[in-house]
């Protein structure tokens, strides 16, 4: 019996890519390679191969939806060129109206977390209750146990949503703290110059 010539061959990785595409469309949060491997019941190495295919297929300038590596996993988002259209329809409740004190509190939790409200207040010099409550409500931080000892204060850490909102692949993508701000020596020098100026 003659076999018909098949012009299109079914690539098994392509098939896997379609499965991942479906799972990612349903997901409401980024999925890690391990989670995708479990969902597709396949090998993590093949998952990464299929994700490579999808990343190329769903990228800025080529597709209206973009696959991004964010918050320790993979997720779809709208392409940046469609932002205006999205803005006309959708709110951004998480990041809307994030105040300066809230961002300061958020950065303290991101760098020093898990940390408690008294620790945050010690650094900022202002009680952090309302800022912490607002960040909790937005889902940018979450409770992460308590300080040691009886009656220990609740500690907070940032959530995967924080990484997603700020477009970070992980917490490691934050700039090094040592690279930010003045050093202790700089500030000491400045204090000294002010003191000298006063006495002069």
């Amino acid at each position: 019996m003659d076999r018909t010539l098949r012009l299109i061959t079914a690539n098994p990785v392509d098939q896997l890519a379609r499965t991942l595409e479906a799972v990612l469309v349903v997901a409401s949060a980024p999925l890690s390679v391990e989670e995708l491997a479990q969902a597709a019941d396949d090998d993590p190495e093949r998952i990464e191969l299929a994700l490579g295919l999808l990343s190329d297929r769903f990228r800025e300038g080529r597709s209206g939806i973009v696959l991004e590596h964010v918050a320790g996993g993979y997720a779809y988002r709208a392409s940046r060129e469609a932002a205006e259209a999205c803005e006309r329809l959708f709110e951004r409740p998480v990041e809307r109206g994030l105040s300066g004190p809230a961002l300061e509190t958020l950065s303290i939790v991101a760098y020093l977390g898990p940390c408690s409200r008294p620790e945050i207040a010690r650094i900022r010099g202002v009680a952090a209750d309302s800022a912490v409550a607002g960040l909790l409500e937005r889902g940018l931080i979450a409770e992460a146990g308590r300080d040691d000892g009886p009656g220990g204060a609740v500690r907070y850490r940032t959530t995967p949503l924080f990484e997603r909102v700020f477009g970070l692949e992980s917490a490691a993508a934050l700039p090094r703290l040592d690279d930010l701000g003045e050093t202790t020596a700089d500030i000491r020098e400045r204090l000294h110059s002010v003191a000298v100026g006063k006495t002069a």
């Binding site: 940046r80 803005e87 961002l103 300061e104 009680a127 909102v165 701000g181």
Partner: protein, 251 residues
Amino acid sequence: MTAVGELELDLDAFEGPFDLLLTLLLKEELEPAEVDMAAIVVAFVERLAEREELDLEACGEFLVLIAALLELKARALFPDEEAELAELEPEEAAEELARRLAEYRRMKEAAAWLAERLAGERDRYFRVGPAPIAPRPERKLAPQDPQQLAATLRLLAEPPPQLSLAHMSLRFPPVSQFLERFRAVLKRRRRFDFDAEVGSLSRVDQAVAFLALLELRKTGEIALEQAASFSPIRVSRPDAERGSEWIERSA
């Protein structure tokens, strides 16, 4: 209260005149830690700038009040560190102050970086759904045949069979009825076979008849004989049984 007292404030924790803020703080109805002192100073300086004249009296009054408030706030924020810091030498205190300022400065820079990042990500839209990932099942089901599953489901959809309530209306005949009956039979015959006598009756009647038989045996009115388990039960008058034994022995 003079111009300072009338200073209108619009802070996160409070909105109103400065003297009301002071009253609330002194009555402990407002936490000093909640109040942004820098914002009060900024408001006062703006007020001075608007007036375009330096009211020294107001400035002095303000300085005294804000210094007292700052001390109140510092004590509320760092109650445990007060004694610790008091023991520091001036050099050490300056070093500690510089360390803390540096720490706060770094966090302010980090916050600025986050704000900048947020502005850069303003055109990134994504779905934020509350639906959590389903819990992973502990054990996977073996592959199932859809037809078989459908058939099983269909069975579940069928109405259950009508329950019979016939047993609820069972009528048990009185035991006395059979007592009389067996006594009458034994008057006519010396012995009879129980199974043959009640064979035509219902199961319930047979059970009641058996109870009557046991009752008659208890009172010694009859003798019972059964060769083996489940073999026919022979019922006789007690004297008839003895009589047959005597015949058998004498024979």
